[in-house]
């Protein structure tokens, strides 16, 4: 049942370019898709471990810069008279490096802050994002600072038999983002349904008990942080090669806030929710632009956010599923249905 919905959703998204020809809307869908990937990675932390990363855009931005610099090449002097010269590599190598280096940053931030967690984790992640932004702004020799990294090549795939295929068109980039988004979705879903995910849920619900049944707190949370940061890095890389120009503004706090809003409105702990929340807030500017000034758009954003959370306090998807399942009776009935489903699965 669930996998049928997943396949139909993927098919629906895959069919979009067949009937949507407007390049402006395609562009909006691609950037929204990139943000949804980043927001899904944030949901892994916020929805499944309960840790709020308010510097999540740092991993996104690091991915963008790593990928851009890998494919552009650089020549940088280091203290002590050393020079590091890097020749341009294919963009796909940048994509892979973006995931690895963002993941490593996730590891260090996780290790540093998960000893204290909660509010401290929030503060460490905010500070981390700000430090990274300042580095990007001031290390002009490497990042061009406010002048921005320009002429970033588009993502290219080397297919055996076809040679190098550079993804120039919106159509190609749309499918690239879709493929990465599906991969991220499957990765996170598989992870949270495995015993690693159960350990995360246990920690979030009752940490003392989780520890006593032998769940390693730091290891579990760090694992979530690494995978989350790696996926955010992948999204950043897609962004860099699609927009093809990046400046330190990618690290802006508002980008993190956008991701958090997508996760919260869609529903913490629901990836489908993040996709819906992402589409609502990613595409809202398109709807509002003809009728509102930019300042008024922000107010409308806030209004919609409050309205959604007022009507559906746990987020769109969890609140709706709860409402739909309620008419069937009390928990005991739900239990029996679940048991029946379970036995059916066993026999299948």
């Amino acid at each position: 049942m669930r996998s049928v919905v997943t396949i139909l959703t993927i098919a629906a998204f895959a069919s979009v370019p067949l009937w949507l020809r407007d390049p402006y809307l395609m562009n909006a869908l691609i950037t929204t898709g990139i943000f949804i990937i980043a927001a899904m990675s944030l949901n892994l932390l916020l929805g499944f471990t309960g840790q709020l990363s308010l510097g999540h855009v740092a991993f996104f931005g690091i991915g963008a810069y790593v990928s851009a610099l890998t494919s552009l090449g650089f020549d940088v002097g280091l203290p002590g008279g050393f020079r590091v010269v890097h020749d341009p590599w294919p963009p796909f190598a940048g994509f892979v490096l973006a995931i690895i280096i963002s993941g490593l940053c996730g590891y260090f931030v996780g290790r540093l802050s998960f000893r204290v967690r909660g509010a401290y984790f929030v503060i460490v992640t905010i500070s981390f994002a700000e430090v990274v932004r300042l580095v990007a702004l001031n290390w002009v020799e490497l990042t061009q600072g406010p002048l921005a990294l320009t002429n970033i090549p588009p993502m290219a795939l080397s297919l055996p038999g076809f040679g190098e295929l550079a993804l120039h068109t919106k159509l190609q980039n749309y499918y690239l983002v879709l493929v990465v988004a599906v991969a991220a979705y499957l990765l996170i879903t598989r992870l949270v349904r495995s015993h690693f995910g159960r350990a995360m849920r246990g920690l979030m619900a009752n940490e003392t008990l989780a520890v006593s049944v032998g769940i390693d707190v730091t290891k579990t949370l760090t694992l979530a942080a690494v995978i989350s940061a790696g996926i955010a890095g992948a999204a950043g890389s897609l962004y860099a090669h699609y927009i093809r120009i990046i400046d330190p503004e990618v690290f802006a706090f508002i980008n993190t806030v956008t991701m958090v809003i997508m996760v919260i409105t869609g529903g913490k702990g629901s990836l489908a929710g993040t996709i819906i929340g992402g589409l609502v807030f990613g595409l809202m500017p398109i709807v509002l632009r003809p009728i509102m000034a930019p300042e008024a758009q922000w107010i409308a954003y806030g209004g919609v956010l409050i309205a959604i959370l007022f009507v559906l306090p746990r987020g769109i998807v969890p609140s709706l599923t709860q409402r739909l399942s309620r008419p069937h009776g009390k928990t005991a009935a739900v239990g029996r249905v679940a048991f029946a489903e379970h036995s059916a699965k066993e026999h299948a």
Partner: protein, 260 residues
């Protein structure tokens, strides 16, 4: 009981919180396959002693050892790895998950598949998952909660949640179980069933240390009882000895009771 090999040994343990002496010079042991109860009035230091034995607190002085291994300085998961597993007074379940999922979380240590295997759903990971599910079912049956298996644990009655807590502890395959006030809040028939369960667990070779207020329950289930008051042991012995010990009667009922 002297013929039993010693499982848990507490020697000269003292705990101070600043100037407050929570425990002083605590000495006792639990033999393999024995049911020992730790009792005492509120504030006597029972829970502190418990936290020391499971690594949630470090003693100011003295040592705790389990099967010859010193526990001082070990973290709770490391102590759990030795087979010494506890239950909690208040927070005994993961409330939003079903009883079945609670057990799957509790079986975490048994499911040692690699990250990549788990994500890709390789045969070994699936097989391990199937084994865990089967084991979870067995544990639920053991504590008698089959009918509630797919209800959220938070919706269960207090007594049933305690049973989930015990099943969670059993999931870790303990060689010794430490139960912190397991029957508080249970009615008489629930308590009776619980006593059967404890005996049943012991008969499968698990040593048990019990902290409990419910005197009839303690008297009926224990091989030996250790009585604490103001952080000290004031009596130790079989239920019959404890029942007639003047110091114990005084601690529980006040001074006049001894002479009455």
């Amino acid at each position: 009981m002297g013929s039993l090999a010693t499982a848990l040994k507490v020697e000269q343990v003292a705990v101070r919180f600043g100037g407050l002496v929570a425990l002083s010079d605590l000495n006792f042991s639990v033999g393999e396959g024995e049911i020992v109860s730790l009792i005492g009035p509120n504030g006597a230091g029972k829970t502190t002693a418990f936290n020391i034995m499971t690594g949630f607190l470090q003693p100011t002085h003295g040592t705790v050892s389990y099967r010859g291994i010193t526990l001082n300085g070990l973290k709770p998961p490391e102590i759990a790895d030795l087979g010494l597993i506890r239950t909690f007074q208040r927070t005994s379940v993961f409330p939003n998950d079903t009883v079945f999922d609670n057990l799957l979380i509790g079986l975490h240590r048994q499911g040692r598949t690699g990250l990549l295997e788990a994500i890709l759903g390789l045969p070994r990971a699936r097989q391990s998952d199937r084994r865990l599910r089967q084991r979870a079912g067995e544990l639920i049956e053991w504590v008698g909660l089959q009918r509630r298996a797919y209800d959220p644990a938070g919706s269960l009655s207090y007594g049933e949640q305690r049973l989930v807590g015990v099943a969670l502890a059993l999931a870790a395959e303990p060689s010794m179980l430490l139960l912190d006030e397991p029957v508080s809040g249970m009615n008489a028939s629930e308590t009776f069933t619980f006593v059967q369960l404890i005996r049943n667990i012991r008969d499968r070779g698990v040593s048990i240390l019990l902290v409990e207020h419910d005197m009839p329950m303690v008297m009926s289930v224990s091989d030996r009882i250790v009585v604490l008051n103001y952080g000290r042991i004031i009596a130790e012995g079989t239920p019959d000895v404890i029942r007639n010990d003047p110091a114990v009667i005084e601690a529980y009922l006040g001074q006049g009771a001894v002479h009455a």
